[in-house]
Subunit: 395 residues, 2 copies
């Protein structure tokens, strides 16, 4: 209990330090040429990019300072020191630190796609080794209706490690894909973090309380520093958070979920990101043309955002393109405009989907609506996780 | 034994990958505006800055990939898994990763001095906790001639942790201060790394073989990736290594020395850096004026480097300045030119000291001479560590 009070105090200090440092580091970023221009504004001010590195570093520093407090009792009697739990925390912080480095390098150097997939994969290795030696549980519980065929649980062996790696890589990139309007990256991360914290607090009473208090030790400083970042990144953004923030956030979620054994629950919290990713597949696989940026289009006249569009030429349209086009049209999932030579459809992102369904919106309203959807998904996750789970699993 | 052969193979691959990646990342650096101009050349080509991040990342990646090999036997039987050794390795890699991040942030954003001292201090915390729970030996052996007064050993308690923090912070900054001419930062790091590796190999036969093989696991990939960097950084430099490399190198040395229990021996290997630091004190404390850069001066006519100088005005010269000036003059440690109004002396760095004692030199010759001095110091370290130590300590 005392350790949580101290954690709150440290996190509160971290909030104020982050809040204070962001404008200063922002100036350094602009001096270093690390800035962008907000495409959804009429003014062309230089806005510092990559400031997620500040909140990330402060989150790490808070965690470092907190180590002697978490392991206080172990430090009194080193014979009883929980080396395995300490290794867990170190492996988690190492993964997070690696992603912070990769993200910042990406913001500065604009790395290629392959590194964005390769490096999180390698960065996850210490985490997998820790998981292997501390738990090595690779079984899934089978839902009651399916037990007739599959038995009570299935051991998927090394595939479980593959699954965890995919989760870490997906999570690291998921927030980066659902991004591009003021406050959305940080806002969705705050909603996910709050959901994880609520879930951890509920589960503190269970026999898995150690795993959940581990998660809280990382998530509370994360939330504090991220809220400070949100203050500066909220509409109208005074700083951009960069890939730094997206990678580091995603990896933080993956770390606590893997070591806290709630990776499936994290999957539920990441539902909007998963939907966005699945919806994007036709463009990511180049079945539809994929422009470099798929941001909504800003109209200075109306001060509203409109869905951005991509053009498919009819002449040499592949069968796969035709099939996907018909499928999406049948389910009313795209906004299609056709003439003799080409078809234009909205770019396949969740942001554009909201715009074609709800009509043009101001940037602030659009962000709020998307965040509301994130909150709804989290609420649904709790519904599935609690009342409904008892139907599928034993209590 | 097998694990060392695999480590060599992995490190060799890391060498070639680093060698291959550096020119590519160099181009990205130039595109990102992360470049400098070589002040000791007549041409004004853009030279990429901060490429130490490539060798640093590759060193980390090699270490990650090597984890399952080091702990192979522990992984077979997880009941016997050495959690404490694993935590040691993770804490070490975490410190190194933090310094890589800090260094790269410094290269891009040009951070203030206070962060350069504060952040390594905090980054060392996981290392100190690991040391505390795994060893917590805070005693120094007293040399035989002094035992009459102090006893066989002195326990300095928490001061030992202060000493290790200072070592880590000093080591992280030491290479950065003895720097500025082509190949010097990387060259000295290679000499120090080779000295550490030789020392570890000699000590593999002792009862401390675990600590020394731990050190080798980190130092061999470090050496391989650093040699690849040296190839591109050697005179005439095609890339600059940046603070990234200096911080990360220094922290790597500190990590292996602290966890390998040879911090005093590392002190001997860092003798040129210590001399440089002590010699710089009058300027660092602003007893003498300290210009932003203290690099030697390049003359395009002769293609030689000359000692750069600082000007002390006689009018309001403080007593402390007078005292230090007289002291350094008495021991022939500076080159002084005096007129009615002011005194000019060489900037107090080891590089300038070599230039005033040996006369102007070409950049290549100067680097080679300084590296030769580093080799001499290492040889002396081995002399002190082996034949002479038996005089001061029991065998």
């Amino acid at each position: 209990m005392w350790s949580f009070i101290l954690l709150f105090v440290l996190s509160l200090i971290a909030y104020f330090v982050t809040d204070n440092l962001i404008p200063r580091v922002g100036k350094l970023c602009i001096n270093a040429g690390l800035y962008g221009v907000d495409l959804c504004k009429t003014n062309k001010n230089k806005i510092p990019e990559g400031t997620g590195v500040v909140s990330g570093c402060l989150c790490l520093v808070t965690n470092f300072l907190f180590i002697p407090i978490i392991f206080g009792s172990g430090l009194m009697d080193t014979q009883q020191f929980p080396h395995n739990e300490f290794a867990e925390l170190l492996a988690g912080l190492l993964c997070i630190c690696c992603m912070l480095l990769l993200g910042f390098a990406d913001d500065v150097l604009d790395l290629r796609w392959r590194y964005k997939v390769l490096l999180p994969t390698i960065a996850t290795l210490p985490l997998l080794v820790v998981y292997y030696v501390n738990f090595n549980s690779t079984t899934f519980l089978v839902p009651i209706p399916l037990r007739h065929w599959f038995g009570v649980s299935i051991d998927i062996g090394w595939l479980y490690y593959f699954y965890m790696t995919v989760l870490a890589v997906f999570s690291s990139n998921a927030i980066n894909i659902l991004a591009g309007i003021n406050g959305l990256e940080v806002g969705q991360s705050v909603v996910i973090a709050l959901s994880i914290i609520l879930f951890n607090v509920i589960e503190l009473g269970s026999d898995q309380y150690k795993a959940h208090s581990f998660s809280l030790h990382i998530m509370i400083p994360y939330l504090a520093t991220t809220l400070a970042l949100l203050k500066h990144n909220w509409y109208p953004s005074k700083v951009f958070v960069g890939d730094t923030f997206c990678y580091y956030s995603g990896m933080t979620f993956a770390v606590v979920a893997i070591l806290g054994h709630f990776s499936k629950t994290l999957g539920l919290f990441l539902l909007p990101q998963i939907i966005n990713c699945v919806y994007s597949v036709p463009q990511l696989l180049h079945i539809f043309p994929c422009p470099r940026h798929r941001l909504p289009k800003y109209s200075a006249e109306t001060d509203l955002l409109y869905a951005s569009r991509t053009i498919i030429t009819k002449k040499d349209m592949k069968n796969s393109t035709k099939f996907v086009l018909n499928f999406l049209t049948a389910f009313h999932l795209i906004d299609k405009i056709e003439d003799d030579e080409c078809i234009t459809v909205n770019n396949l992102t969740l942001i554009n989907f909201f715009l074609i369904k709800l009509g043009p919106k101001s940037e602030l309203k659009l962000t709020s609506t998307l965040l509301l959807f994130q909150v709804l998904c989290s609420s649904m996750a709790f519904l599935i996780r609690y009342p409904m789970a008892s139907y599928f699993y034993d209590a």
